[in-house]
């Protein structure tokens, strides 16, 4: 089963988070992508948008989302990146910059980190406009197109851990 997690805590700054996502022990340049942004300069370009809308002193500069695939995914990295990019689009409901990085090295479960700018192109702040269930269904739809396992619910994760 796949896992989708919205991370509430953002202890890292934009640039620190970008550096973590780009860690070459975990990923490679062709496994990093941007939505509406140059992935190589994601932090600066997100700050640029925040500056244009005078949203520089935010408690959270970005939203972090993590999507983890089920184990033993029989797909090449290029395809996994493509799927993660599609999932990235499903996580935003407006024009908003997203940095995505697939961590596939030295891990049991291939997963993708998303850094979503808290400030959108129209100056609006990220509001989880839809329920977790909505995002889960949208991602499950993408996974189904590729014949992949859907997302676990928290109940299912709890039951697995208990057994």
């Amino acid at each position: 089963m796949s896992i989708l997690k919205f991370e509430n805590r953002t202890p890292r700054s934009l640039s620190e988070m970008q550096a973590y996502m780009f860690d070459t022990d975990k990923t490679s340049p062709d496994a990093v992508f941007g939505i509406g942004i140059d992935e190589n300069y994601a932090a600066e370009q997100m700050e640029f948008v925040q500056r244009m809308w005078y949203r520089e002193d935010l408690a959270h500069e970005y939203i972090q989302v993590i999507f983890a695939f089920d184990v033993d995914i029989p797909l090449p990295i290029s395809m996994i990146v493509r799927i993660c990019r599609e999932i990235g689009y499903a996580l935003i409901s407006d024009q908003r910059q997203v940095l995505g990085a697939v961590h596939y090295k030295d891990t049991d479960k291939i997963h993708c980190h998303y850094m979503i700018n808290y400030v959108g192109m129209d100056g609006s702040l990220y509001r989880q406009n839809h329920s977790i269930y909505f995002y889960r269904m949208a991602v499950d739809k993408i996974l189904a197109q590729y014949g992949l396992n859907p997302i676990c619910s928290n109940t299912e994760i709890g039951m697995r851990q208990a057994s």
């Binding site: 300069y41 600066e44 640029f48 925040q50 500056r51 244009m52 408690a59 024009q95």
Partner: protein, 99 residues
């Protein structure tokens, strides 16, 4: 940029005229009154980049187009992206200096 949790309140008395003037200024900049006043208190001024917001929207669409064109090696996508970023860096620096 520092992250600050807004966990305290400031109450400010003002004349109706002052309030309207601040509201108008804030509205023109697309800010709430409190964001505007906090910004002025911290930065002493508001740096306005004419067309800056339209530029951000145009850049978003441009980057989306460029990412689709990356599959065609003959197109100088990397060079275009680097040039775009130099422009953004320049504006970022100017706004930093303006502080």
């Amino acid at each position: 940029m520092k992250k600050m949790n807004k966990d305290t309140t400031i109450i400010l008395r003002a004349s109706e005229a002052d309030k309207e003037a601040i509201q108008e200024e804030a509205k023109e900049l697309g800010m709430s009154m409190s964001s505007y006043l906090l910004h002025i208190a911290k930065h002493k001024q508001v740096n306005i980049v004419p067309g800056g917001r339209e530029l951000t929207e145009a850049l978003y669409k441009l980057y989306e187009t460029l990412s689709r064109l990356e599959r065609y090696p003959i197109l100088p996508v990397t060079e275009v992206k680097d040039t775009l970023h130099k422009g953004i860096e320049k504006i970022n620096s100017a706004m930093e200096e303006g502080k």
